[in-house]
């Protein structure tokens, strides 16, 4: 029930029903002041109440308001990337206890249920660190440009409806279209490596998400017109054949996108495309 001053009944009340005992959770955070600077570890103790629904980002907010380490040293707020906070934008991806995931859906009651439990936070290792937990994933967006990941429509004026599509095909495309370019699949991939030099992006392995997007666009009636161009890229250095079939990507994808199905399908399509290209010479 709202207290005396709360007419809209939404005031935070630590004593509210459903919110239980508080405990201390220790965060070990790998920090870095900027590109080329050394990394260091800092620890923070954060008070969390059982049942309040706290996630890692709520704890980082508490650290920002009180940037003092567990040892009592004054420091700066941790820098991190965040957006929707409901696991649909991909921004807050980081390495939590050794595994890449979205920090927003990493709930403290699950990860650190007991007083004194520890959570380790690191930036993704396959992208250049900007500062602390914030990394630069522009390579992923660059790859989408290289793959012509769009439908080459005839402009924005009204030209009638799009193609009809069978529900099964729509469902297949929809699954790939929920990819939020978060990079979990790349962090987990043994073949995808850190490449800070943009000049080398076009020959380094594109990674699972890009192969999934290739399938998504090749399967659409209008976007599919550019399928030969995309398959050319898939046959080039860094294309689908660089996949080592470790299958980590599909295990870590937060949206459970069938990435290995896409790798298999695009692998076959690229082979056929290569043969056609060879005989058409």
């Amino acid at each position: 029930m709202p207290n005396a001053t709360s007419q809209n009944g939404t005031v935070e009340d630590p004593a509210a029903p459903g919110v239980g005992r508080t405990r201390t959770v220790r965060f070990r955070v790998k920090r870095c002041d900027g590109p080329g600077k050394p990394s260091r570890w800092e620890s923070f103790d954060v008070r969390v109440a059982q049942g309040e629904g706290a996630n890692i980002l709520a704890c980082l907010q508490r650290i920002a308001a009180n940037p003092v380490t567990a040892e009592g040293a004054k420091t700066t707020p941790v820098v991190w990337d965040a957006g929707c906070l409901e696991e649909v934008c991909g921004a807050c991806t980081m390495v939590v206890n050794g595994r890449a995931r979205q920090a927003c859906s990493a709930l403290i009651d699950t990860l650190a249920p007991n007083d004194g439990d520890e959570i380790t936070l690191e930036p993704m290792s396959k992208f250049p660190v900007v500062r602390d937990l914030h990394v630069d994933r522009s390579r992923m967006f660059h790859t989408l440009k290289r793959l012509k990941a769009w439908a080459p429509i005839d402009g924005l004026y009204a030209l009638g409806p799009g193609p009809r599509e069978q529900p099964a095909r729509q469902q297949e495309r929809y699954a790939y279209s929920t990819c939020m370019t978060c990079g979990c699949c790349l962090e987990a991939c043994p073949q995808f490596r850190l490449e800070p030099q943009p000049g080398r992006w076009d020959t380094a392995f594109v990674g699972a998400n890009a192969i999934g997007q290739t399938l998504l666009f090749n399967e659409h009636a209008i976007a599919g017109e550019l399928a030969p161009d995309r398959l050319d890229e898939m046959l080039a250095p860094g294309g689908v054949s660089d996949c080592g079939n470790a299958q980590n990507c599909v295990k870590v994808c937060p949206k459970e996108i069938p990435l290995t199905d896409a790798i298999a399908a695009i692998g076959r399509a690229a082979t056929i495309h290569g043969l056609k290209r060879f005989f058409a010479r």
């Binding site: 940037p67 409901e86 439908a151 209008i222």
Partner: protein, 652 residues
């Protein structure tokens, strides 16, 4: 050929991307600024769908005109009508366009676009792609803008923050000729020249602390335009979504589509019933929305559903277990159907609440969701003959839409400065109907983009004709502002009195408590006093980070100062509007008062007082007369008490 004119677009959500694509198509060069990589913009969070008249609904009696009428009725007649006319009449064409772009709209067995029911309508007029429609539409427009970027027409400035519009005297009138922005990684502050500036920065949820909005939705960009002299309209019109999942960091949206696909809202009939919901038989459940609104049921507009849930929980104490929660129940629906149509949102609930909503009813409560008010914008009305198909229900010969290509389309009161999407005040009046937001954002970009291109080409001065100082001076002021903040930085926790994060928390609590579901003049005045105190503390705020590299602490504190100014606009508009209309519900003035308040609230910044000045403009309503907005409520509501006019008894 000469260099193309440049247009700046601030914000890369649906409105900013649609505008960028349209401007690029019109042959202009676009500089697109965004706090985040545009593909991560807040539009991804929209779930339920996008409204448009369609052939099935048309055969059932629906029309574009009715879509317009529903939108006006939903908004309690506060919206100017010609923009709503134009938007609803473009809607089917926009769906077709999105379809061509490859949006994976859900399909019927035969491969046609599937439709669902949504709030404020009795017809299925909502197109959807699973329960992540906003994400899917954003991606489609992101792809088209990436295509324009690859072709050289669009240049992206991602992780850049808009700091202020640059105004200059051109031919005796003030005009927007560029912006000052900061790279949030290198912290470089610089000016950019443009022949037109488009603000498409969305809503201001963060002012309310925990809302359904993304962390970038601070309202700071709109506030900066307001501080520069742009009018802010209907600031008091804030939508509280009835169904959100309360959390520690935000309230996550539970889409209206859950009710559109059959979800039922209920509480136990017995106060304090502690049984598990599956143990409570149907006869012992109170489906209060269905009982109170037999016609619309669970699909009444959001402000009404929020007030009813609030009434049940706060006034009657009937919330689940005495808490401020009600059930949103989908457990009667087959799992396969739920997964096909609602998987995205059910997974969000499962991940964040830890229970499977296919098995257990969800627990939800209202949360701040959408900003109907925003930067005031204008347009050129265009009277034309009513369309025999689209306007068949209008009973009119003539209708009034907007003139395509007019250079004032969605222009603020400052020439050259435009506002599109959620950041403007157009379209939604006093409440937005579900699945109209995606439509208004895309329509704004596509429709207004034509006029903005004309303005940049034909009306804007030659950028080379403006003196360098016009751009250098405001950039220097912003540089100094950042330096002044940095000079106050010291490591460690600041005193709570001047801790920016704690000031922001206090702002959020105060605004949520004083100015959401129910309001009173007294409480709003009290909140205004609190904001003045917070402004004073914010002016002395102490940073914990003096770095000149990716200093989020600095950006946060600077934004907080601007959010406080916008909070004053929201409160002042609420205090002055002494009536109840749509989302603005005043306990001390529970009725709508058309005689005095069928008007647009305008807030102008008074720099000397550092406070808003409130005035009013008439609503432009050439087509539909206001009528009582009851949605057929059956009992003890203010509307139901009023009896319809009965004819005088016949003389005997």
């Amino acid at each position: 050929m000469s260099e193309p004119r440049r247009v700046i677009v601030v914000g890369g959500g649906l409105a900013g991307l649609a505008a960028s694509a349209r401007l690029a198509e019109q042959g202009l060069a676009v500089d697109l600024f965004s706090l985040v990589p545009v593909k991560r913009s807040h539009s991804v969070c929209a779930q339920g769908g996008i409204n448009a008249c369609n052939e099935v609904a048309r055969q059932q009696g629906f029309s574009e005109w009715m879509h317009m009428d529903e939108t006006l009725y939903g908004g309690d007649f506060l919206a100017d009508q010609p923009p709503v006319y134009e938007m609803t009449h473009w809607a089917p064409k926009i769906i077709d366009l999105l379809d061509r772009m490859g949006v994976p709209f859900n399909r019927t067995h035969e491969g046609f676009r599937d439709l669902r029911l949504f709030g404020g309508s009795l017809f299925k007029r909502t197109h959807f792609a699973g329960a992540t429609t906003g994400q899917q539409l954003l991606y489609a427009l992101d792809e088209q803008v990436r295509r324009a970027e690859a072709g050289g027409a669009v240049t992206k400035y991602e992780h850049w923050e808009f700091l202020r519009p640059i105004l200059a005297e051109v031919d005796g009138a003030t005009r927007c000729v560029g912006i000052v922005a900061q790279d949030l990684r290198t912290m470089q502050v610089r000016s950019f020249r443009a022949s037109a500036v488009v603000i498409a920065t969305g809503g201001c949820g963060l002012i309310f602390g925990k809302s359904t909005n993304s962390v970038s939705c601070t309202g700071a960009a709109a506030a900066r335009c307001y501080l520069a002299g742009a009018w802010y309209a209907n600031g008091e019109m804030i939508q509280v979504h009835p169904t959100a999942i309360p959390g520690a960091d935000k309230c996550r949206l539970m889409s209206e589509s859950a009710r559109g696909e059959g979800g039922r809202v209920w509480v136990p009939k017995t106060k304090g019933d502690t049984r598990h919901p599956s143990q409570i038989p149907p006869a012992e459940r109170w489906y209060f929305l269905e009982e109170r609104y037999p016609k619309y049921g669970n699909l009444v507009p959001r402000d009404i559903a929020s007030r009813e849930i609030f009434d049940v929980c706060v006034n009657m104490g009937m919330g689940i277990g005495g808490e401020n929660m009600v059930y949103l129940d989908l457990t009667h629906k087959p799992r396969e159907e739920l997964d096909l149509k609602l998987k995205g949102i059910l997974e969000i609930y499962e991940k964040f609440a830890g229970e499977d909503p296919r098995d257990v009813p969800m627990k939800i409560f209202p949360a701040m969701h959408y900003t109907m008010g925003g930067l005031w914008t204008t347009f050129t009305p265009e009277e034309r003959a009513a369309d025999p198909v689209m306007d068949r229900d209008s009973g009119r010969q003539r209708v009034t839409g907007m003139a395509l290509g007019a250079t004032n389309t969605m222009q603020t009161n400052i020439p050259g400065l435009y506002a599109l999407g959620e950041v403007n005040f157009a379209y939604h009046g006093a409440t937005r109907l579900g699945a109209n937001a995606l439509l208004s954002c895309i329509f704004d970009g596509l429709f207004a983009g034509v006029g903005i291109a004309n303005s940049a080409r034909d009306e804007a001065p030659d950028p080379a004709s403006l003196a360098a100082d016009v751009f250098d001076a405001p950039a220097k002021q912003e540089q100094d502002r950042a330096e002044a903040l940095r000079a106050r930085a010291r490591a460690g926790a600041p005193d709570p009195e001047v801790n920016p994060y704690l000031i922001a928390q206090e702002l959020g609590r105060e605004m949520t408590d004083a100015s959401t579901v129910v309001k009173t003049g007294e409480r709003l005045e009290q909140a205004l006093g609190k904001i003045r105190e917070l402004k004073d503390r914010c002016a002395r705020a102490t940073l914990a980070d003096a770095s000149m590299w990716t200093n989020q602490n600095l950006a946060f504190t600077r934004g907080l100062s601007d959010m406080l100014r916008l909070a004053e606009v929201i409160l002042a508009g609420g205090i002055e509007r002494k009536e109840s209309r749509g989302s603005h519900y005043r306990l001390d003035y529970p009725d709508r008062d058309d005689a005095n308040f069928w008007k647009t609230t305008i807030a102008e910044y008074d720099a000397d007082a550092d406070a808003p000045r409130i005035s009013y403009r008439d609503v432009i309503a050439p087509m539909v007369e206001p009528r009582a907005r009851t949605y057929g409520k059956t009992q003890s509501a203010p509307e139901a008490v009023r009896q319809p006019e009965t004819p005088a008894p016949a003389a005997s």
